[in-house]
C-alpha cells in the first residue's frame, strides 16, 4: 500500500485484490452475527473497496494497514445493516414459512451496474463503462473520446465519488 501511495498502480491493484477476500470473510461474519445470509455481501465488499480507495488519505502510513481497513469495513457494514433495517420490516422466517419457498435467495455478485451508471452524467458513464466493464485504460479512453488523459482521470475520480454517494443513499 505504501508503494501504491507513491503512485505504483500495479502494487495498488495487488493490494486491493488481496483485501477483497479478507473483506468478504469480514462482511460475511458480520452479516451472520445478525442472522443474515450471504446475499448482498459482495455489495458491501465493493462499497468498502470504494471507501478504502476514496479515503486512503486517512490511513497513517506509519500504522498497520489492516486495522484501518477493518475500521472502514465496520463502518460500511453498519451502514448496510441500517439500510436493511429500514427496508426489511417483516421477519424473513415468517414469510418463507408461509410461502414455503425452498429455493435459495438469488446471490448477488456485487452492486447492480445499472444502479451505478444511473448516478453518472453521460461523459462519466462512458468513461466508467469503458474502464470497468470493457477493461480499457485511461489512456485508451482518452484517445477514443478525444479527451486528454488528465481530463479522463479527473472525470473518473468524480464519477467514483458520485458512485459512492449513490450507493450510500440507495
Amino acid at each position: 500500500m505504501r508503494a501504491a501511495n507513491r503512485g505504483d498502480a500495479n502494487a495498488y491493484r495487488r493490494v486491493l485484490a488481496g483485501l477483497a477476500p479478507i473483506l468478504r470473510g469480514l462482511v460475511k461474519r458480520g452479516f451472520a452475527r445478525y442472522g443474515l445470509g450471504p446475499e448482498e455481501v459482495e455489495d458491501v465488499v465493493q462499497e468498502t473497496l470504494l471507501a478504502v480507495h476514496l479515503k486512503r488519505q486517512t490511513w497513517d502510513e506509519r500504522q498497520q494497514l489492516l486495522p484501518w481497513v477493518r475500521a472502514i469495513a465496520q463502518n460500511k457494514l453498519i451502514d448496510s445493516l441500517r439500510r436493511r433495517g429500514r427496508r426489511v420490516h417483516v421477519p424473513i422466517d415468517d414469510v418463507s414459512d408461509a410461502l414455503a419457498v425452498d429455493d435459495e435467495p438469488a446471490m448477488s455478485n456485487g452492486v447492480d451496474a445499472e444502479r451505478i451508471l444511473a448516478s453518472l452524467n453521460g461523459r462519466q458513464r462512458d468513461i466508467v463503462q469503458a474502464i470497468s466493464i470493457e477493461g480499457a485504460s485511461a489512456r485508451q479512453v482518452a484517445d477514443r473520446l478525444g479527451m486528454t488523459e488528465g481530463a479522463v482521470r479527473v472525470a473518473l475520480h468524480r464519477a467514483l465519488k458520485s458512485i459512492a454517494g449513490a450507493l450510500r443513499r440507495a
Binding site: 501504491a4 501511495n5 503512485g7 498502480a9 500495479n10 495498488y12 491493484r13 486491493l16 485484490a17 477483497a20 459482495e42 465488499v45 465493493q46 473497496l49 470504494l50 471507501a51 480507495h53 476514496l54 479515503k55 486512503r56 488519505q57 486517512t58 497513517d60 486495522p67 484501518w68 475500521a71 472502514i72 465496520q74 463502518n75 448477488s108 455478485n109 456485487g110 452492486v111 447492480d112 451496474a113 445499472e114 451505478i116 451508471l117 466508467v128 474502464i131 470497468s132 466493464i133 477493461g135 485504460s137 485511461a138 482521470r153 479527473v154 473518473l156 475520480h157 467514483l160 459512492a164 450510500r168
Partner: protein, 215 residues
C-alpha cells in the same frame, strides 16, 4: 444489466490510483487559516479589543477567561484532527475535551466561595450576554465551514459527532476572540453564556455534519 464484478471495480480503482490524494493535514491547515482569518477580520471590524485591556490583563478573572477559551479551542482542534480517522471514536478524545470545562468548573467553585451570594446573580447575568450569544455564533460560521470542508476529506466514524466537535472548535475559537472584547470576566458569566453560545455552534455543527460528512 449485470452486476459489477469486484475484479472490474478493483481495476477501475487502480486506474484512478494515480490521482493525487488530498492531504488531510494540508486541508486542515488551509481551512484553519482561512476560517480563522475571516473570524479575526469580522472581530476587528465589528467588536475589537476592549479599551481597558491593559488593566484587564492584570486581573486573574480576565486571564482565566481567555485561557479557558484558548484551552478549549486547542483540545477541540486536536480532537477534530483525530476524528478524521475511521479508527478514532469520540470516546478516544473525551479526556482532552473535558479539560477546559473542568478548569472552568473549578473557577466557578472558587468564585462562588469568595464572592458574596448577593453578587452571584449580577455577575452571572453580566452586562453583555446578548452580544455574547450573537457574536460567538456569528464569528464561528467561517471557521465551522472550514472545519467541515476539511473533515470531508476524512472518514469520521460518526458524521454527527465529528460535526459537533467541528462546531466546538469553531465556537471556542470565536469565544477566544470574543473574550478579549467582552467586559464580563466572572467565571459565572463565562460558564453560563459562553457555554451556551458554544453549545449552539456545536449543535449547528452536528446538524451540518450529519448532512455533509457522510462518506
Amino acid at each position: 444489466m449485470p452486476d459489477l464484478k469486484t475484479d472490474d471495480l478493483i481495476r477501475t480503482l487502480a486506474e484512478d490510483g494515480a490521482t493525487r490524494r488530498p492531504s488531510l493535514a494540508g486541508r486542515m491547515a488551509v481551512a484553519l487559516l482561512v476560517g480563522g482569518l475571516i473570524a479575526i477580520a469580522l472581530f476587528a471590524l465589528l467588536l475589537g479589543v476592549r479599551p481597558d485591556i491593559g488593566s484587564a490583563l492584570h486581573t486573574w478573572r480576565f486571564v482565566l477567561k481567555v485561557a479557558v477559551a484558548l484551552l478549549a479551542y486547542a483540545f477541540a482542534l486536536w480532537a477534530c484532527a483525530r476524528l478524521t480517522s475511521p479508527q478514532v471514536g469520540v470516546r478516544d478524545t473525551l479526556a482532552g475535551l473535558v479539560a477546559a470545562p473542568v478548569l472552568l468548573a473549578a473557577a466557578v467553585g472558587y468564585e462562588l466561595l469568595t464572592v458574596s451570594p448577593d453578587d452571584w446573580y449580577t455577575r452571572a447575568l453580566g452586562s453583555n450576554s446578548r452580544v455574547c450569544l450573537i457574536a460567538i455564533p456569528l464569528l464561528s460560521l467561517a471557521p465551522l465551514a472550514g472545519a467541515l470542508a476539511a473533515l470531508r476529506v476524512g472518514a469520521p466514524q460518526s458524521p454527527g459527532t465529528a460535526g459537533a466537535v467541528a462546531g466546538l472548535m469553531a465556537g471556542t475559537l470565536a469565544a477566544t476572540l470574543y473574550s478579549v472584547h467582552c467586559p464580563d470576566d466572572s467565571p459565572l458569566f463565562v460558564a453560563l453564556w459562553y457555554s451556551l453560545a458554544v453549545a449552539v455552534v456545536a449543535l449547528l455543527g452536528a446538524i451540518a455534519g450529519r448532512r455533509v460528512l457522510q462518506w
